[in-house]
């Protein structure tokens, strides 16, 4: 269940106002806390930790990835290993001649499937950072855990959001790089623009789709609606995020080149760029989630 679904379910399960045991959404324990069995009566009750208030300023969202640092580090490590796999093992495997169907299946099961699951987990983690913020949950860091449905769904959502527009811009940038001949400064600028726009558009489609948990919102119309609600300043944030993604992409490519010369040095660069990229991505998704939450409550307040 995604944090949005959890928030929705919690609203349904809420007792009528004034009923005994009623709790406000802010007071409701987070999902993971609910699953923890209560401490036996004979033990001293654990001192309740102070509630963490929801972020109010953008810079407070920087704490979220710091709170999730073990996960960020592990994910960055696996991402670097995946890049190493793509750099070294995948080309060798494709080069082998006369592969049998069994070998292809074995390869798909042993390498491709885990890679897809990992990428799904990564997408799921970023989705959780976003949707937990949309649901106004500030207490815990959420991640997909072993929820295979959530992992696959996140992976599917990200792919659909990419294909719903950013793929065209990204494809244009890729083919321009490939067939553009001797690229001068102007060409590199055009490629950079296309990549930045592609990432910015991808981010907007993801936010549009995840905000109301409706994949059908990942359309230009859905994005206009989103910009309507959150303000057109979001466009500048998305472009800034795209620029950061471009810088990290370039760093990762340089690191992959370095990997061929020195595994240790290239690996370190790859890991550092992965950590930095994941940190910023987590921060960004949290920020956008909080932005959605604040705009929603602001709209509710102005209606009442």
């Amino acid at each position: 269940m995604t944090p949005a679904e959890r928030a929705h379910a919690r609203q349904i399960a809420l007792p009528p106002p004034g009923a005994p045991g009623e709790t406000s959404p802010e007071d409701a324990p987070p999902f993971d806390a609910v699953a923890i069995p209560e401490a036996p009566a004979h033990k001293q009750p654990r001192k309740r930790r102070e509630r963490r208030p929801l972020e109010k300023h953008w810079y407070e969202c920087l704490l979220y990835p710091l709170r999730a640092w073990p996960l960020v580090i592990v994910l960055a490590g696996v991402l670097s290993a995946l890049a190493w796999f793509v750099s070294f093992l995948l080309p060798e495997w494709f080069e082998q001649d006369g592969k049998t169907t069994g070998q292809v299946l074995l390869f798909a099961l042993s390498c491709i499937l885990p890679a897809v699951l990992f990428l799904g987990f990564l997408c799921g983690f970023l989705d959780c950072a976003f949707t937990s913020a949309v649901a106004g949950e500030g207490q815990q860091v959420y991640y997909p855990g072993r929820n295979l449905r959530l992992i696959l769904r996140s992976c599917f959502n990200w792919v659909v959001c990419f294909l719903a527009g950013p793929a065209i811009l990204f494809g244009a940038a890729f083919f321009y790089w490939l067939y553009g001949g001797d690229l001068d400064l102007l060409d590199w600028f055009i490629i950079a623009e296309l990549v930045v726009l592609s990432f910015a558009y991808w981010l907007l489609t993801l936010v549009a789709a995840n905000r109301r948990d409706r994949l059908l919102d990942a359309t230009p119309e859905g994005i206009v609606t989103l910009l309507d609600h959150l303000g057109w300043r979001l466009l500048a944030v998305a472009v800034g995020a795209g620029a950061l993604a471009l810088v990290h992409g370039k760093l990762a490519i340089l690191a992959m080149e370095e990997l061929h010369r020195s595994s240790l040095q290239g690996g370190c660069w790859l890991f550092l760029s992965s950590v930095s990229g994941l940190f910023l991505a987590t921060f960004l998704f949290r920020l956008l989630g909080i932005w959605c939450y604040r705009c929603h409550t602001w709209e509710q307040d102005s209606t009442t």
Binding site: V86, S87, F88, L90, P91, F94, E95, D97, G98, W177, L178, Y179, G180, G181, D182, L186, D187, F189, I190, E193, P220, E221, V224, T225, L227, D228, G231, W232, R233, L235, I253, M256, E257, L259, H260, R261
Partner: protein, 445 residues
């Protein structure tokens, strides 16, 4: 959607007031400006149409036996003063007019790395002279007083040449090597391949091997050679010429001693201040020669009609792709089918190192660096992938003709070609025969 967008702009978008909207518009225009500039300046390489009259005149020049003070030389000194042959046809004759040459037509080249108070030198030691005969001793006093050395003296490893290897250690900083005459068939098609196609192949190869840089010695990832004027090198063993016209002008000057507007004739090593009375060839004559070479037919793939032989060559073609030969000897490049080359420089290992250069005007000199940058000249071990079309009729093989047979040539591949060579060595005798049978279908026209 558009209506919604238009409605949204003035009223609902509270963060986008009129002033902000202007800013957004301005930013969008600035972002679109580079794209507009590129569309306006986009250039497409166009193929030059063939002129039959020019080609006919060029054929006469190609076959002409040049003499000192030749009447066709417009007041220049004609052949020489130093030269390698007296006509183009003397070297380009195997498999027809414009073909490759044998070992006897090899050219000696040298590189002397920069010493204290001395600039680096490179060029050709010409085999013949009208006057001022060149010798290797003029390159370095420790070298013999002859214009050439036997190939087996230059080799460091045994090959399938007739003579056993008798390697002679070169003085420090001096590299001497030989160049075999390449075939000129299909040169027009190579000339028409755009730089974009070559670079696209370079990039896709890098991508395929996980963004591997071209300085990796074990992966078939080559690099395009950028000449001093920014164009890509497409002709010559080191990719030193960007166009057929440049290649022809450089060959006229270096091999025949015919100075022309594109390339001055070389001064003899023993007489560096030699001045020719005038240019030997006009630009018109150079263009006629280029037109003739452009008119040479393209090599063909002649698959035998006999059932068994056809089967063998088809299987060989599959093996050619399977063991990785096609990684560098790409069957098609751009719109040119059957070229079997990527026209990129590849590192071929220490045993195939060969310094020396024609020192053409626009080319970059051979660099002494082991890891040349993208704008540096070719390293001693870097060679442009030779097109394999017509390979059956262009023995001997490799840059200096050290391999008499195709099998020998494959086995001599080192560096970035070593993977394919190792795979070839691991094939059964029958499979090796199939691959060779396929290569033998690539005939001169």
């Amino acid at each position: 959607m558009l209506r919604r967008l238009l409605n949204a702009l003035p009223s609902e978008a509270y963060l986008m007031n009129r002033r902000n909207r202007l800013w957004y518009l301005l930013v969008a225009l600035v972002a679109l400006a580079p794209l507009g500039m590129r569309v306006a300046t986009w250039s497409k390489q166009r193929s030059q149409p063939l002129d039959a009259t020019m080609a006919e005149a060029g054929e006469m020049l190609f076959k002409h036996e040049w003499l000192p003070n030749d009447p066709l030389c417009n007041g220049g000194d004609g052949l020489g003063p130093v030269y390698n042959a007296s006509s183009c046809l003397a070297c380009h004759h195997q498999g027809g007019v414009g073909g490759s040459g044998g070992l006897q037509d090899n050219v000696m080249t040298f590189t002397v790395q920069a010493q204290l108070n001395e600039k680096p030198r490179e060029g050709v030691v010409h085999a013949r002279a009208v006057q001022f005969q060149e010798t290797l001793a003029q390159v370095h006093p420790e070298l013999p007083n002859t214009p050439t050395l036997a190939l087996n003296v230059l080799l460091t490893v045994p090959t399938n040449c007739d003579e056993p290897v008798r390697h002679r250690r070169m003085p420090p900083g001096v590299q001497v090597s030989q160049r075999n005459t390449p075939a000129l068939f299909g040169a027009k098609l190579i000339d028409d391949i755009s730089d974009r196609d070559i670079l696209a192949h370079e990039r896709s190869a890098r991508l395929r091997w996980g963004m591997a840089p071209s300085d990796r010695d074990d992966l078939p990832v080559g690099r395009a050679l950028r000449l001093a004027d920014g164009r890509l090198g497409k002709f010559g063993w080191k990719g030193q010429s960007a166009s057929l016209s440049d290649f022809v002008q450089a060959a006229c000057a270096n091999e025949l001693g015919l100075g022309n507007p594109g390339h001055a004739q070389p001064a003899p090593l023993g007489k560096p201040d030699y001045q020719a009375p005038a240019l030997d060839l006009t630009i018109e004559q150079c263009n006629q020669l280029t037109a003739f070479i452009s008119s040479l037919p393209t090599p063909v793939e002649r698959v035998p009609q006999d059932g068994l032989a056809e089967e063998q060559s088809t299987a060989g073609k599959k093996l050619f792709h399977g063991i990785g030969c096609a990684d560098c000897h790409t069957p098609s490049l751009g719109s040119v089918e059957g070229i079997y080359s990527d026209l990129l420089l590849h590192r071929m290992g220490q045993d195939l190192e060969g310094g020396g250069s024609y020192n053409d005007g626009g080319s970059r000199p051979v660099t002494k660096q082991a890891d040349p940058g993208p704008r540096d000249g070719p390293a001693p071990s870097e060679w442009r992938t030779p097109p394999l079309w017509g390979v059956a009729d262009s023995a001997p093989y490799m840059h200096d003709g050290r391999a008499k047979t195709l099998e020998g040539a494959i086995k001599l591949h080192g560096g970035q070609g070593s993977r394919a060579a190792t795979h070839f060595g691991a094939l059964s005798g029958a499979d090796q025969a199939e691959l060779i049978a396929f290569l033998k279908t690539l005939r001169a026209p």
